[in-house]
């Protein structure tokens, strides 16, 4: 049968079309930025660019988590509620339990690892479909943080069981989300640091390569002796960790433990990761792609707000951009088949 297939002539693709498909998503980003710079004088100012980066820093953490799950050909939709849980955990450690910085950072991170392990258990051991398993976990984790707080936010001086809660958001913690170093927000520096770490891990080490191999063809990976399940567990744990990091930065930025604060970030994170997936027409989740996807969404939100587009209409535009980016990459002919 193979012999028959090869007889079919392959129509050569025009080089221009090929480039359009390959760099379509990049062109969209550049186009959007150009559009906003022309229509709005304030867009290309340092303070505005800083605002954009600050705004996307938290989403990018979640999007990195989603990216890791995509790399092993899975999907983690629970990152939003993990972020919420981490926010609450950090705020609770500070305000309700009067902990210092170290514990305040450790507890949310452990929560993230816990959620990641639970996701991995459901996907790898119980073998539930990834989307459904993490959807269920999303509900469960959201329920946990709601139950823990009884639906109320955690803030300094709130009424606790034994009178007023005496803990404070300590300055060293607030520095994470609100401080600046050399005029650059710490949150942005953290984001760049972790983007760099994730990039080095996925693209520059053989562990990352094996992770991609597991996602690309799990059976072939197993037949090469690559411990497929370990890598899948690792990916979900990393995803949980990144979501928790997002939660820490979020708690620090707003200075309270908002209930369900991570939920609205989920969709932007998923969109960023998928725009990154489509970028360069590779259909390959990547850290750089995710960062660019995140930037695209941040730029859009910022620019549209400046143009006084109401926030509820912005979702329409976000959705359309996602469709456009994905269309470019999925329309591209799979010539390697």
């Amino acid at each position: 049968m193979d012999t028959v297939k090869t007889l079919r002539t392959v129509k050569p693709i025009h080089p221009l079309t090929s480039y359009l498909f390959r760099y379509g998503a990049v062109l969209i980003i550049l186009g959007v930025i150009a559009f906003f710079s022309i229509t709005n004088d304030h867009f290309l100012t340092y303070s505005n660019l800083k605002d954009i980066l600050k705004a996307i820093s938290i989403t990018t953490f979640l999007a990195l988590g989603v990216t890791f799950s995509l790399v092993v050909d899975g999907f983690d939709i629970s990152v939003g509620s993990t972020t919420s849980l981490a926010t609450i955990a950090a705020a609770s450690a500070l305000v309700l339990h009067r902990q210092e910085l170290l514990i305040t950072l450790l507890v949310p991170l452990l929560c993230g690892i816990g959620v990641g392990l639970f996701n991995a258990f459901l996907v790898v051991k119980v073998k539930l479909p990834d989307l459904l398993a993490t959807l269920a976990v999303m509900y469960i984790v959201n329920g946990i943080q709601m139950t823990y707080t009884k639906g109320y936010s955690i803030y300094e001086g709130m009424a606790g069981t034994g009178g007023e809660a005496t803990g404070k958001f300590i300055p060293s913690f607030l520095f994470i989300g609100q401080g600046e170093v050399l005029g650059i927000p710490v949150a942005v520096l953290l984001m760049l640091l972790f983007v760099g770490l994730a990039y080095i891990f996925l693209e520059k080490t053989t562990f990352g390569r094996h992770m991609y191999m597991v996602g690309g063809n799990a059976e072939a990976a197993n037949l090469f002796g690559i411990p497929v399940n370990r890598y899948r567990v690792l990916a979900y744990v990393i995803s949980g960790l990144f979501a928790a990091l997002g939660g820490i930065v979020l708690a620090s930025r707003i200075g309270t433990g908002q209930v369900s604060a991570g939920a609205p970030l989920l969709m932007d994170a998923v969109a960023s990761a998928y725009i990154g997936f489509a970028l360069f027409g590779e259909k390959r989740p990547s850290v750089v792609g995710t960062l660019l996807g995140s930037i695209l969404i941040g730029v859009l939100l910022n620019g549209l707000t400046m143009m006084n587009v109401p926030y509820f209409a912005q979702d329409i535009i976000k959705g359309s951009i996602l469709v456009l980016a994905l269309t470019f990459s999925f329309l591209r002919k799979e010539r390697s088949a």
Binding site: T3, V4, T6, M213, N217, E219, A220, F224, G225, S336
Partner: protein, 495 residues
């Protein structure tokens, strides 16, 4: 009432497959189509079934010319082709009775569908052909044998007049094969014409009235089965005489140490039920027909199934999973190269450097890849070329080369020449030989006698997952090989 393929010639591009072959099957006749792989049997069957249109030649039924543009054209003329993949025509989620009567339901064009009436109809059909099956079972829960029987009964109940069967008993056990041939006989008595491809020659001798042997796309033997027909004659016609003898140079008496030994351990749970020894640098071929359990054995050795104990270089080790197998020095080149052996979207360099550890040094990997690409003669010779775009032969070279960034003790090749053109074959054989020369023990699994002859130091014949005989290379000829494999199957069958 005869289905005749007249003067059929066919080719795939430059590759001629059939040359003026005439073949016919009468009603009430079981006609065996025999030949080595690549002789053109399957192609001829595909033409008869309307899958391919022949380049030259015609198909006649009762002397009247018919044109099969598709399988449904052939079906309309009562010609039904059952491939080895029996799942193809069945709907896995639907129950047996729904699958069985799908053709009737379509003809009736009824809007209301009575399950109970349909069940009764299905039960009657199954009973008529002696298949004991719960009609409410979804088809996905049936065994391969049951699916096969179901497909045949369905074809017959839809007024099929000619059945084309491609290696129907390959994956069946003995009892199932016996039952299968009972059904064939019954259909034959009902007046169906049946064409059968099989490599199990004794089965052919027992149930067919007519045989046709193809070799290299031409008919070399066409006769009825009678007492004068000997198995040896058929094999000679298939192989073209004793031309094939072992081609690998037999090494002198120097004995290498045993590299891998698997022993039966009695009643323990990690017992493989098989025992053998392979020496360092030795190429042992495990020769077995389709359905002999080759792939299962290879997968078990590589740790894909239950844990087992082996002795590697004198040390006893237990292998529970593929990771441990690789740690113990195993390499595995799986049969389904495209699905299991390579990553089509990744480039050659990624494959070759797969067993590297730590940080990725692109320049180092590129240099290494270039050196490997040269020594394994991979074309095109660019490390950044996507493996999915390589030819089958070059994909296989990559699938093999990806293992040997470091020396391996044992390499298992499962049908490595499947779908690989002649010119690449020789390169791959040389690759395997040079690996053996470097001290890797090779376990080569194949159903092709030519390959066994080309590469082996020793040949083991595998039947029903058991090694039943061993032939040293100097005693090896193609006819001997075919005869042993078949005799053993036969002997097992009568035990």
């Amino acid at each position: 009432m005869t289905l005749t393929l007249l003067d059929i010639s066919h080719d795939f591009g430059d590759l001629p497959v059939l040359h003026q072959v005439t073949f016919s099957v009468k009603p009430g006749e079981v006609h065996a189509l025999l030949g080595m792989n690549g002789a053109g049997k399957s192609t001829l069957l595909h033409i008869a079934a309307g899958v391919y249109q022949p380049v030259r030649g015609t198909i006649n039924i009762d002397g009247e010319r018919v044109l099969f543009r598709s399988t449904s054209d052939a079906n309309a003329h009562g010609v039904v082709f059952l491939t080895q993949e029996v799942d193809r025509g069945l709907v896995p989620q639907l129950a047996v009775h729904e699958n069985l009567t799908i053709g009737h339901l379509r003809q009736e064009k009824a809007i209301w569908f009575s399950k109970s009436a349909n069940r009764a109809r299905a039960r009657a059909l199954l009973q008529e052909y002696g298949l004991d099956l719960n009609v409410d079972l979804p088809v996905k829960e049936l065994s391969l044998y049951e699916k096969q029987m179901l497909s045949i009964i369905r074809a017959v109940s839809n007024q099929a007049r000619y059945l084309l069967l491609d290696e129907p008993t390959a994956s069946l056990d003995r009892l199932q094969a016996v039952k299968f041939y009972e059904l064939v006989q019954k259909l034959q008595l009902q007046g169906l014409g049946i064409v059968l491809i099989s490599h199990k020659l004794h089965e052919i001798m027992a149930c067919c009235q007519q045989i046709t042997v193809l070799r290299g796309g031409v008919t070399v033997m066409e006769r009825s089965v009678d007492n004068n027909l000997k198995l040896e004659d058929i094999i000679e016609a298939m192989t073209g005489g004793a031309k094939g003898i072992a081609r690998r140079v037999v090494k002198d008496g120097e004995q290498q140490p045993v590299q891998l030994a698997v022993r039966t351990t009695g009643n323990r749970s990690d017992d493989l039920g098989i025992k053998f020894e392979i020496r360092k640098g030795e190429i042992v071929t495990l020769f077995g027909l389709l359905g002999s359990g080759k792939t299962e054995l290879a997968e078990t050795l590589f740790g894909l199934h239950d844990a087992y104990t082996a002795v590697i270089e004198g040390k006893q080790v237990t292998i529970r999973n593929t990771r441990q197998a690789v740690e113990q020095g195993f390499a595995f080149i799986p049969e389904e190269r495209g699905r299991h052996g390579v990553w089509k979207k990744d480039d050659i360099r990624t494959h070759l450097a797969l067993s590297f550890r730590g940080m990725i040094h692109v320049s180092k990997e590129l240099a290494y890849s270039q050196e490997r690409i040269r020594s394994f003669a991979i074309r095109p010779d660019s490390p950044t070329y996507r493996v999915g775009r390589l030819s089958g032969g070059n994909q296989q070279k990559v699938a093999i080369a990806k293992w040997f960034a470091k020396p391996r003790k044992i390499a298992i090749f499962d049908e490595p020449m499947k779908g690989i053109d002649v010119s690449a074959r020789e390169t791959i054989f040389q690759m395997i030989e040079s690996l053996a020369a470097e001290g890797t023990s090779i376990l080569y699994l194949t159903a092709e006698p030519e390959e066994a002859l080309r590469i082996s130091d020793r040949v083991w014949t595998l039947v029903d997952g058991q090694i039943v005989s061993e032939i040293e290379a100097h005693a090896l000829t193609m006819d001997a090989l075919m005869l042993t494999a078949d005799k053993e199957v036969q002997r097992n069958g009568h035990r």
